[in-house]
Symmetry: C2
C-alpha cells in the first residue's frame, strides 16, 4: 500500500498538545498503490509530496510513519501571562516554518506513531522559547534582550553565535524532549519499540535537516547532490558505543565483549593473535585471544547485518526505553542516542532552479538506490514531466516503485533481477523553487 498527501493546503498543525494515534492497517492489495492519508492529525503542506509502500505487503502494520505540516511560531513576550494570549494572537509577530519528517519504527509502530504526532509540537515549543532571539540579527546574551554586562554583544559575537545556532539548539532539545515523552507514554500504555527520526525544517530562508537514525535526506540540485544527513548505525557509531562499554563495563553484564573482530571468534582462536579494534582505534591491530573474547561482540556484523548488542540495527533514535537484549537483563537504551545531527542549507547562498528538490527517504529506498541513482531519476523524471502539476508526487511514487520492484512468483525483484527491498519504503519529494510564494 502507498499513500498520498491531499493536495489542498492547510495552514497549520502542532497547535495544542496532540494525542497519540493508532497505526493504520496496511491495504490488502497485491502491491497496489492506494492513495490515502495515514495520519490521524492534520499534516499537509503545499509542494510536499510523499509516497510509501508497506513491507511490500509482508507485514500487518506499517512501521514507517510520516508527518508534514506548517509550524507557526509565536513570539512569547517575557512575563506575559497565559490569559493575555489573545494579545499574541492578534500580533503580527509570527514566524512560519515548514516541516517534513519520517519515522522508521522497529519492534512495532508505536514509537513511530507517537513521534510523528509529537515531534513537531516539541520543535514548535522549543522554537517559541527562542523566538525573541531568532528574529534578531544576532541572538542576545539574555533572552530578555536586557544587558547585564555592557560587552555582552561582543561575547556573543566572539563565540560566532548566529540565529541558525539557536534553531539547531531548538531541534536538538526537541528531539530529547520528544524521546522523554515517548518513554513516559509507552510505559504508561505498556507499549514497546523505537523509531528513527529524520526531520526537515524550512525557516527564515534556511533548511535544517535533523537526523537520528538511518534514514537519509539529500538535495538534488541541477549540477550537484548535497547530502543533508549521515546515518547513525552500530557500525558508524562503533567508537562511541565501545567507549561507553569501556567506561561502564557493567552495561555488558559479562555477556558481551566490547572489542570488534572481523568475525565471531571460536575456541580455536584462543591463544592466537587476531585482528581487532578497541574504542580508541580507527585502525586495526592484533590481539592475543583470551576466553573472554569469545563472548558476543557489542557491535557485530557488517552493513545491513550490523547489530548493536545483537539486537538493534540503528544506534540513534527515539523510544526503546524498555528494550532488553533477549533472555538477559541487559538494557539497550544506555547505548542509544536520541540526539540528532543537524545540517543547515542556506538558500541565500545558492541559485535554486525549477527542478531542484529535497528528497527524504527511509532506509528501504537507500538500501536499493544510491544518491546518484536517485538524483538521476529525479532529474530526468522532472525534466520529462515539466507541465505536470503532480510531478513531485509522481516522482515520489516512482522512487518507491523502483525500490519495491515487481512481484515475480513469491519474490519481489528489481528490473536488474537483484532482490528488491523487503523493508518499508517512505519518500518525500519537496520542490525547492519559489519556496516562499508556494508556502
Amino acid at each position: 500500500a502507498a499513500w498520498a498527501l491531499p493536495g489542498a493546503p492547510r495552514p497549520c498543525c502542532g497547535e495544542g498538545k496532540p494525542r497519540t494515534g493508532r497505526p493504520q492497517k496496511r491495504g490488502r492489495g497485491q502491491g497496489r498503490l492506494v492513495p490515502g492519508c495515514v495520519h490521524p492529525h492534520p499534516a499537509h503542506c503545499v509542494g510536499a509530496e510523499g509516497r510509501r509502500v508497506i513491507n511490500a505487503e509482508k507485514s500487518e502494520f506499517n512501521e514507517d510513519q510520516a508527518t508534514c505540516c506548517q509550524i507557526s511560531i509565536r513570539r512569547r513576550e517575557l512575563g506575559l501571562e497565559e490569559d493575555k494570549e489573545w494579545l499574541i494572537l492578534c500580533s503580527t509577530q509570527f514566524l512560519t516554518g515548514y516541516y517534513w519528517a519520517l519515522f522508521d519504527g522497529h519492534g512495532g509502530p508505536s514509537a513511530a506513531v507517537i513521534a510523528s504526532n509529537y515531534l513537531h509540537y516539541c520543535i514548535k515549543q522549543k522554537l517559541e522559547e527562542v523566538a525573541g532571539a531568532i528574529t534578531e540579527a544576532r541572538p542576545p546574551m539574555h533572552v530578555s534582550g536586557r544587558c547585564v554586562c555592557d560587552s555582552d554583544p561582543q561575547f556573543v559575537e566572539e563565540k560566532h553565535i548566529r540565529v541558525e545556532d539557536m534553531v539547531v539548539g531548538a531541534l536538538e532539545n526537541a528531539f530529547q524532549e520528544c524521546d522523554e515523552v515517548i518513554g513516559q507514554e509507552m510505559e504508561a500504555t505498556g507499549q514497546t519499540g523505537g523509531c528513527t527520526a529524520l526531520a526537515a525544517l524550512y525557516l527564515q530562508g534556511k533548511l535544517y535537516v535533523a537526523n537520528a537514525g538511518d534514514s537519509r535526506a539529500i538535495l538534488v540540485l541541477k549540477d550537484t547532490i548535497v547530502p543533508m544527513s549521515c546515518e547513525f548505525t552500530p557500525e558508524t557509531e562503533r567508537q562511541r558505543l565501545q567507549h561507553l562499554a569501556f567506561l561502564f563495563p557493567k552495561l555488558l553484564d559479562g555477556e558481551f565483549t566490547r572489542f570488534e573482530f572481523p568475525r565471531r571468534l571460536k575456541g580455536d582462536d584462543v591463544g592466537q593473535k587476531v585482528l581487532y579494534r578497541d574504542y580508541f582505534m580507527e585502525g586495526w591491530g592484533y590481539k592475543l585471544v583470551e576466553k573472554a573474547d569469545l563472548k558476543y561482540p557489542l557491535v557485530h556484523g557488517h552493513g545491513k547485518q550490523a547489530r548493536l548488542l545483537g539486537t538493534l540495527a540503528v544506534s540513534r533514535g527515539l523510544g526503546d526505553h524498555q528494550l532488553k537484549v533477549i533472555d538477559t537483563n541487559i538494557e539497550v537504551k544506555p547505548f542509544l542516542s536520541c540526539i540528532p545531527k543537524v545540517n543547515v542549507f542556506d538558500f541565500a547562498l545558492h541559485d535554486i532552479k525549477e527542478n531542484d528538490v529535497l528528497i527524504m527517504a527511509t532506509d528501504g529506498l537507500w538500501d536499493i538506490l544510491c544518491n546518484k541513482e536517485v538524483a538521476h531519476m529525479a532529474r530526468s523524471f522532472l525534466a520529462e514531466n515539466r507541465t505536470d502539476p503532480h510531478r513531485f508526487s509522481e516522482l515520489a511514487k516512482c522512487l518507491v516503485r523502483r525500490a519495491r520492484g515487481k512481484k515475480i512468483g513469491h519474490q519481489w525483484m528489481l528490473d536488474d533481477s537483484r532482490e528488491a527491498s523487503y523493508d518499508d519504503i517512505s519518500v518525500f519529494v519537496v520542490p525547492l523553487h519559489n519556496r516562499d510564494e508556494d508556502c
Copy 2:
C-alpha cells in the same frame, strides 16, 4: 635561538630502548639564529630540515622538542626466540620508515623530551608486531597467517581492512604506550608537565600524520594545500569533555560547571535566561541561570585563551599524569586523550612535483600564519631558490623568522605591526619529490 639539523645523513635511530634526555638551555643571543642540534640522541634524515626559536628569548628552556629519524622494522617470525635474532638481522625482510615529530611541552619540557626520545621507539615496536601483516596485500585474520576458518580472508575483505589500517592502529597504540611510559618515568623521577605530539611517518609509499594536540601539518602541493591534521583544544573537543563531566560529575568535585556560556556568569545573571550549550548541543539554547551556574566553566574562554578546567590550552597530548587544578584536588588527566587522529596520504594517487613539501609546525607558527600564507611563502621561496641545496632548511628558517618577528624596543613585532608570536616555534619542511631515492 634556533637550530638546524646537520645535513649529513645518518641511517637510523629507534634501535634499542632509548634513554631520556635533559633539555638544553636556550642560547642567550638577542634573537640570533644559532644552528645546532638540541637532541641528545641521533635524529637525522636526508631531506628533512628544521628550525626553531625558543619563546623569542623569553624562557629558560625550550618546551618544543623535535625528532627525525629512520625507523627500521624487522619482521618478527612467530615463535622465533630472542637468541635466534641474528637470523632476522641477516634476513632481507626489512621495512624502512621515515619519521618526523614535534612535541610542544607545557609545565616544563620534561614530557616533550621523553616523548621525543621514546615515541619513535614505541612506533617501531608496534609496527614490528604487525610487520607480517603489512607486507601482505591484505592483512590476514591471524598474525600467523594460519586460517582457523576457511572464509577468514572474506571476513577481512568484507570489513575493508587494508594494510594502512594496521599502520594507523600501530600509531594509535604507540601513542598510548608512550603516554604510559611518560607517566611512569615522570612519577619515578618526580618530574611534571605534558606535551602535544605531532608525528609523521613515511612508509611503503604512504604518509601517515598522527596528531594529538594543537600542532599542525599540511602538504603544500603545486596547486593545492592538503591539511594533514586538525587541532585538539578545549574548544574543538568541548562536547567530548562536557560529556565526560556529565557521565562522571565527581570529576568536577563541585567546583566547575560543565555548561558553556559566552562569558563567565555573575550574580546579576541568576534568574535570567542566558545563552548556553550542553554536551549534546552543537547549537545554542537559553538556560535559566541558577546559582550553580556561577561556577567556573569546564571549558572557558575563546580561541587561544580557551582553557580546560582553567588550566590547559590543549585537550590531547602526552603526560600530565599528576596535573591538578591549582588549589584543588581535581585531576586534569581524565579529560585528556593521548590518542592521535591519523590522516593518510597515498603518494601513488598524486603526481608529486619538485617543490611539493610537508610542513609541520607547533602552534607558535600557526598562531601568526594561516595555511594559505605558509603555502604562499613556501611556493615562492622554493621557486626563487631552485638551485640552493639548502632551500628546504632555509624555508624552515624563513618561516620561523617571519612568525617570530623583529624586536622593536621591548616588543617582538611582525612586518605588518601586529604583535609577533611569543611562543616557541618549531618547523619541519620535508621535500616530497624523489622520496624513495633520497631516503
